[in-house]
């Protein structure tokens, strides 16, 4: 969720401003043509979306420049051929802005919502429109789990857009090769490797590093750690019941999972590489967490695919580069291919034909292909996407697991839990757990107590 780069303030030329100041932009949808025109040549592929030339579709999301520039480029041809203008606005306080906009009767036509929990809230306001048939048909190209996260109470509302892979461990292939370490393929191997590393390392160097500081969202990386372990130990069913609070944090299963996390990332002999003791995990920012890997002061970092953007310029990412990632193995080998991820959902607050045309286009594999071609660092979980288009090694790795129909895919649990827990109590409790060494029992009790009752 926290992958979007900070807002790059657009420098506005005064002269240019003067020239466009005259025309104020009307953003209403004005479908004009009654007869659908026939698109030819390169535009023929957009025939299905034709007939709404001159309409404007407003879109609101948390994606900021430069990633939003890539989005705009990805649908440039679509706009040119169909005559539909997509007006995208990004905000770094999207999660609190959207409810205010919707509540104030100022909802965008489409919103790109990164949390299923927020989607549920929006549906509960009665303003979300059901998707058109084309989008519903396209949905079949995703793993069933994705459809579930885009649905509320069994009704499908929003098709997924991008996806990111959280079940990754970053490491330095060079450092591994120099010391004869092997990339682990099972949890047991990973634990053995950690112990082996710890005995070899000196000074501030430790096998693992971590950081959960992230401003108002401090704590979220630790929720991911717990989620990985819950999913990798018990599989999808327990994970789902955990999200719906049928399985509480105080449940013995979740308690055991927390023990596993504690013996892994709260082990004083194993963390916090390059930074100091266990408590420094609570105060280190997630952006800084993995940097000691480059100095050989940290062996491994569990963090999502979007961490790729944090490596300094010039860092070579790849199987034989400075850093690369391997898939975090399942705690219990009998759980097949657990994959935790995140993503966004295209939610409609309008049901005019132009908005629905955009919705249909964005849920199609054609659009995903077009976006992949624009710039790396973007992955779709759409199984119809041409896998050969990915150029970046991390994208390739993520896509391989995200679009794998056999994977046990689950969405980031804290994003699917009610905000009071998923963006509140759980974050706070994780910070306390790592920072002040609160007991597992107390941490769980604190989170359970915050679960909304009515």
């Amino acid at each position: 969720m926290k992958r979007h780069a900070r807002f790059a303030t657009a420098a506005v030329g005064v002269a240019a401003l003067a020239t466009v100041a005259g025309c104020s932009s009307g953003s209403s949808n004005t479908p004009t043509a009654s007869a659908v025109p026939t698109l030819t040549g390169d535009c023929a592929q957009y025939q299905a979306y034709a007939g709404h030339s001159g309409s404007t579709v407003t879109m609101f999301g948390s994606i900021l420049s430069p990633e939003s520039d890539s989005l705009n480029k990805s649908w440039a041809d679509f706009q040119k051929c169909t005559g539909i203008t997509i007006q995208y606005t990004g905000s770094n306080t999207f999660e609190s802005d959207l409810p205010v906009k919707v509540n104030g009767g100022n909802a965008p036509n489409l919103a790109i919502i990164p949390q299923p929990g927020l989607l549920q809230q929006m549906v509960a306001t009665g303003t979300v429109k059901k998707p058109p048939a084309g989008t519903v048909a396209n949905e079949a190209n995703w793993n069933d789990a994705w459809k579930g996260y885009g649905s509320v109470d069994g009704t499908f509302y929003a098709a997924p857009m991008s996806a990111n892979m959280k079940t990754l461990v970053w490491y330095s292939p060079k450092y591994f090769a120099d010391n004869g370490f092997k990339v682990p393929t099972t949890w047991a191997e990973m634990m053995t490797l950690s112990a082996q590393m710890a005995s070899k390392m000196t000074g501030p160097a430790k096998p693992w590093c971590g950081g959960i500081g992230s401003g108002t969202a401090s704590g979220w990386p630790a929720t991911d750690w717990l989620e990985e372990v819950v999913l990798g130990t018990y599989g999808g069913q327990v994970y789902d019941d955990w999200i719906s609070h049928k399985v509480k944090f105080s449940d013995p299963q979740i308690q055991t999972a927390m023990q596993t996390v504690a013996s892994w990332l709260q082990n004083p002999a194993w963390v916090n590489g390059g930074y100091g003791n266990v408590a420094t995990i609570a105060t280190t920012t997630f952006q800084d967490a993995g940097l000691p890997i480059l100095k050989n002061e940290c062996g491994m970092l569990q963090q999502a695919s979007f961490y790729e953007a944090q490596w300094p310029k010039g860092t070579k990412v790849g199987p034989d580069g400075d850093v690369f990632a391997f898939k975090l193995p399942a705690v219990d080998p009998s759980i097949t291919n657990p994959v935790e991820g995140g993503g966004e959902f295209v939610t409609a607050f309008a049901d005019d034909p132009a908005t629905q045309a955009v919705q249909n286009y964005l849920s199609s594999p054609q659009w995903a292909d077009s976006r992949i071609k624009v710039a790396p660092g973007w992955v779709s979980a759409n199984e119809k996407v041409d896998q050969t288009l990915y150029t970046d090694p991390i994208d390739q790795l993520s896509a391989k697991y995200l679009a794998d129909p056999t994977a046990t895919f689950r969405f980031d649990a804290s994003d699917a839990m009610p905000a009071a827990v998923g963006s509140g109590a759980e974050w706070k409790a994780m910070v306390d757990w790592f920072g002040s060494g609160k007991s597992i029992k107390d941490v769980a009790a604190e989170i359970d107590a915050a679960w909304p009752t009515s």
């Binding site: 657009a10 506005v12 030329g13 240019a16 401003l17 466009v20 100041a21 025309c23 104020s24 932009s25 520039d69 705009n72 480029k73 440039a76 706009q79 203008t85 007006q87 606005t89 609190s96 409810p99 205010v100 919707v102 509540n103 809230q121 509960a124 306001t125 009665g126 303003t127 501030p204 401003g215 108002t216 401090s218 704590g219 930074y275 100091g276 003791n277 408590a279 420094t280 609570a282 105060t283 009610p418 905000a419 009071a420 963006s423 509140g424 109590a425 706070k428 910070v431 306390d432 920072g435 002040s436 604190e446 107590a449 915050a450 909304p452 009515s454």
Partner: protein, 340 residues
């Protein structure tokens, strides 16, 4: 690719231009309406003149107060009695005072309230103490303006800025590494070889955060109290000295009673600021590690975790807590005006 760029740039420009245009339009329109109203009012004579003048003078203020203060207050109180979980939620219902019961029974919120009370007691007392001390000490000094400026400067710094500065002072690094935090370095030089990680050590961190507030508020207290001290007529001090009062006795029995009203105003003003403290706690560590206070928890409930009704209840509690202070403040000022 270039065309896409151009299209993108022009759409961003278009948005910026229309926003700017909108702002100019709104401000211009507002001024135009005011001018027309004033013009019309100026022409009215006779029986209607007085009532129209009253309406025109009071109208805008009343309108804005209603729009910006009274309506939100009513909405907030209304929300605090419902079970609304997020903005725009349908089918919410009244649940009486449950949110208030929750606020006073939930262990986390209880701690928040206790901590806010601690802030309320310690910060104004310390700020006034430090301010008064400096005012007295430098009163007759030769270069009094230098220490006074030094103490007053922090008042001009925003809370967020001050918090960032102090978070560097409190920065923690493992003792074996080169230190970047001033506090750690100082105490290590003094022989404490293994200082704690200041900002995550409970309850020390709360007090360290209070110091930031005291640092900001002491200058304000010093200036106002210093002026009040200077305002005491010299004859009174002289006759007190002739009667044998000096030092602490003079201070306690003559100076303090003479500046009592000013003291009350300063204490209540600092108290109100302290009760609303948000920026410092938010910036230093977002209320984590047992440092949360009422205003920050209210913000988080309202806008981060979307528990609108719970947050509203906290807002009302905060409002009710400030009210007596404001009442007392106004009453003191009014009484003083009567004396004069």
């Amino acid at each position: 690719m270039t065309t896409a760029y151009v299209a993108l740039a022009s759409s961003t420009l278009g948005q910026a231009a229309s926003t700017l245009f909108g702002v100019v339009e709104a401000v211009g329109g507002f001024i135009a309406i005011l001018l027309i109203v004033f013009f019309v009012a100026g022409r009215v004579t006779g029986r209607l003149q007085r009532p129209i003048a009253i309406v025109i003078c009071l109208g805008p203020a009343l309108f804005l107060v209603t729009l910006g203060l009274i309506i939100p207050a009513i909405t907030t109180i209304n929300n605090s009695l419902r079970n609304q979980q997020f903005l725009g939620q349908l089918k919410t219902k009244y649940i009486g005072f449950k949110n208030y019961t929750y606020a006073f029974t939930d262990p986390y919120t209880q701690q928040t309230i206790i901590r806010t009370v601690l802030w309320l007691l310690i910060v104004p007392a310390m700020a006034v103490f430090v301010g008064l001390l400096v005012a007295l000490l430098v009163d007759r000094m030769r270069y009094a303006s230098i220490p006074k400026t030094m103490v007053f400067l922090p008042t001009a710094i925003s809370f967020v800025g001050a918090s960032v500065i102090w978070s560097y002072v409190y920065n923690y690094k493992a003792p074996s590494l080169p230190q970047t935090g001033l506090l750690s370095q100082v105490v290590m030089k003094l022989g404490w070889s293994n200082p704690p990680n200041w900002l995550i050590t409970v309850p020390l961190n709360t007090f360290l955060e209070m110091i930031i507030m005291i640092w900001i508020q002491a200058g304000f207290a010093m200036v106002i109290l210093g002026a009040a001290l200077k305002g005491i007529p010299d004859e009174i001090i002289e006759s007190a000295r002739l009667d044998g009062a000096s030092g602490i006795k003079l201070f306690r029995t003559v100076q303090i009673p003479m500046i009592r009203t000013t003291l009350v105003v300063v204490v209540t003003t600092v108290m109100i600021t302290t009760l609303k403290v948000f920026d410092i706690v938010f910036t230093i560590n977002n209320g984590n590690f047992s440092t949360d206070v009422l205003a920050r928890q209210m913000y988080a409930d309202m806008f981060v975790t979307n528990q609108v009704s719970r947050g509203s209840a906290l807002a009302v509690i905060l409002f009710l807590a400030v009210t007596p202070l404001i009442y007392y403040n106004v009453r003191t000022l009014r009484r003083e005006r009567e004396i004069r």
